[in-house]
Amino acid sequence: MYPTMTATLDQFDILSLRREFPILQQEINGAPLAFLDSAASSQKPGCVIDCLEDYYRRYNANVHRGVYKLSEEATFAFERARGKVARFVNARSPKEIIFVRNTTEAINLVARAWGDANLKAGDRILLSVMEHHSNLVPWQMLAQRTGAQLDFLQIDGDGRLILDDLERLLTEQTKMVALTHQSNVLGTINPVQKIAARAHAVGAVMLVDGAQSVPHMPVDVQALGIDFLAFSGHKMCGPTGIGVLWGRRALLEAMPPFLGGGSMIKIVSLHETTYADLPARFEAGTPAIGEAIALGEACDFLSDVGMQRIHAHEIELTGYALERLAGVQGLTIYGPQDTSMRGGAISFTLDGVHPHDVAAILDGEGIAVRAGHHCCQPLHALLDIPATTRASFYLYNTPEEVERLVAALEKARQLFL
């Protein structure tokens, strides 16, 4: 399907890739849609949409239940999707892949099931100031339940974690280190492999929020040496309503269930229940079957293009955008100013123009970006700004779209002069 297997995606590759995304073939406010908000949710290729539709049209049935043909087919496709996801992040076994709704639910699952069983008053949880609310609030709630304390890695002026603080913050009391792999605001890619090794040295468990990394770069849970990885399907060309928790088998097996109900049981009597083995133990109730199958298709799609090439393309595009945006008068970029250990989410402010007005003016030019605090209120408080405008890239974005972004920002600046 993609004949040129160069290290990155050339213009021809991008144009043929773009044709596979139906939504990109439209005009918004009289201009071709430039979708620069994939960090919030990515667009879906036709194969993923078809896969979802095929399930509902042809073999919709509940899984692990019926002995009839449709249910067998649905169960087979659902479990095959689990295998695809496992291979996508190089899990040792599909049993380590728990289907959840999204990254948020995956982290809540760990905070509830692992956290309640393993934490007590005086224990410490190490996070960073750049965490998304989804990797902050569940730990605050856990701390309130158990009496554990939260510690935070700070960032330097370039938006990178101050790793020197690890010495002081990682102690025998630290039981959990939960960090984002790539900041959804700053774009910073954190050295989670190095930090996981340090966490393990004090006996802590390491959870990585992969919502912004798994869609954009090769992520190998074994190579990273981490314990939990949480990510969402809808940010990686898959449907909404399906996400993944990967966990080390031994850790998952030792955890009590999260939600109780159907599917997660072996034997139920009126007063007690024995729980199912992995992964069913953590998948109570009917799962998002079609969505899981379509996520498997999205993994295939991304693997066919090549995660290394997608990553290289985004780095190239980000480098170009950083260079061009630096030329816009009054524009401040938050986060690393070069592409070393940096992904394609660029948050910025424009002097004299509120981020929401910037986004509205860009929308008028057919350019979709996000404005607000991006679910990172503490980070914005630290940066002392109420909000930022964020442009984020994916495999289908082009240098021409960066040019349009720059031109529209220039227009916004002029309008508010």
Binding site: N29, H356, A360, G364, E365, G372, P386, A387, F416
Partner: protein
């Protein structure tokens, strides 16, 4: 989009009227729009049920700040009953931009009116339904 950023809005955003605080306000109320971090605080001086002076401080997008400027221009000399009778549509007429199909930005435009009404209802010791905004 160009409808939204008319000269009137841009001018009031750049040079808002009635900015500041009152030394001894009878009403001082602040509301925020958590979605985008817009923030408006309105101070009122009230004598015998009539608004005699008004100031606001705020930060946020051009729509919210221009709205606050335009709204506060209308308040001096008005009775509390008149202010209570102000509707969302009145506010949208005042700023004169079509936001009825824009559920996100309409919140920015209505934040000053919400702040004003909450402040006055609190002053009068009355309850207000959040559904109104």
């Amino acid at each position: 989009m160009d409808d939204m950023y008319r000269e009137l809005i841009l001018e009031h955003n750049k040079h808002p009227h009635n900015v500041g605080t009152l030394d001894h306000p009878d009403v001082s109320h602040e509301e925020t729009n958590p979605l985008c971090g817009d923030r408006i605080k309105i101070d009122l001086a009230i004598e015998s049920g009539i608004i005699t002076d008004v100031r606001f401080v705020g930060r946020g997008c051009a729509i919210s700040q221009a709205s606050a400027s335009l709204l506060t221009d209308e308040l001096k000399g008005k009775s509390l009953d008149e202010v209570r009778a102000l509707t969302n549509d009145d506010m949208l007429d005042l700023i004169g931009i079509p936001l009825d199909k824009n559920p996100v930005r309409i919140k920015c435009a209505l934040l000053p009116l919400k702040t004003l009404k909450y402040g006055i209802y609190q002053y009068l010791g009355e309850h207000v339904e959040d559904d109104d905004f």
